[in-house]
Amino acid sequence: MIPLSWYIIFAAVLFCIGLYGALARRNALAILMGIELMLNAANVNIVAFWRYGTFAIRGQVFALIVFAVAAAEAAVGLALIISIYRRRTTIAVDEINMLKW
């Protein structure tokens, strides 16, 4: 069968790829996609620990709450991107600097 370490290493690699995407990309939408990758990696970890650890249902409940938060985050983030695009006609995060000094 599959040992737990495979899932954890998979989730770690996925999280690090998402982190690179969120830190390095200039496009706000690409940053949002990187954040989605990181949230998914965390969720895989939660479900894997639920499956391999002490057997209670709370792991799945935790993962469901993370789903709800991810949906809220995506909706608000995309609304912000649309709003910024309307006002500035750009979604490059290094050009959106009106809150900087």
């Binding site: 479900v47 639920w50 409940v61 995309l78 309307r86």
Partner: protein, 179 residues
């Protein structure tokens, strides 16, 4: 190597390649389509982990709702950044370094997990019983009804907030002016 391990390795390889393409591809529509492949691969992993309901939720929420939303916004804002302009910022190497250092640190911490190499404990209940447990625990007063309700309030607040933010500027006052 059993067939389950083979399925896991294949899914993990496809998912990680797709995740790399999400981060590296220049065309944002392509990145969004690769993201859908990543999300589908993670749904397969949920099935392998005996969490069938979460796999269905993954398909329904992520692939149906979030990925479609992202694609729509990509198409709305496509003119803002073409393929020719720089896709990564000046300190991209710092981001790559941070990711690699974080990965090495995480792997170094993995030795502290007690049941790292053990197999999954056998499920002593049916999948249906498990699903019943999950549903009951979400509405049971003694268990998780409070986080469940807080999540619903959060979703409502996010709904109202995103409508407010994305509302066209000035259109409300114009309607008042006309009336």
């Amino acid at each position: 190597m059993t067939s389950v391990q083979l399925v896991f390795l294949l899914t993990a390889a496809i998912t990680l390649y797709a995740a790399l393409m999400v981060v590296l591809s220049k065309h944002l529509v392509h990145a969004a389509l690769w993201l859908i492949l990543v999300l589908a691969g993670i749904a397969v992993l949920y099935v392998l982990l005996n969490a069938g309901f979460l796999a269905v939720v993954q398909v329904a929420i992520y692939i149906d709702a979030i990925a479609i939303l992202i694609i729509i916004v990509v198409m709305l804002t496509q003119r803002a950044m073409g393929e020719t302009s720089m896709q990564v910022n000046r300190s991209w190497w710092l981001a790559a370094l941070t990711s690699i250092v974080l990965f090495v640190g995480l792997v170094a911490l993995f030795n502290q997990i007690p049941f790292l190499q053990s197999d999954a404990p056998a499920l002593d209940v049916d999948a249906e019983v498990l699903l019943d447990d999950l549903g009951v625990s979400l509405v049971d007063v003694d268990q998780y009804i409070l986080p469940f309700e807080v999540a619903s309030v959060l979703l409502l607040a996010a709904l109202v907030g995103s409508i407010m933010i994305a509302w066209p500027r000035g259109s409300a006052s114009e309607e008042e002016h006309e009336a």
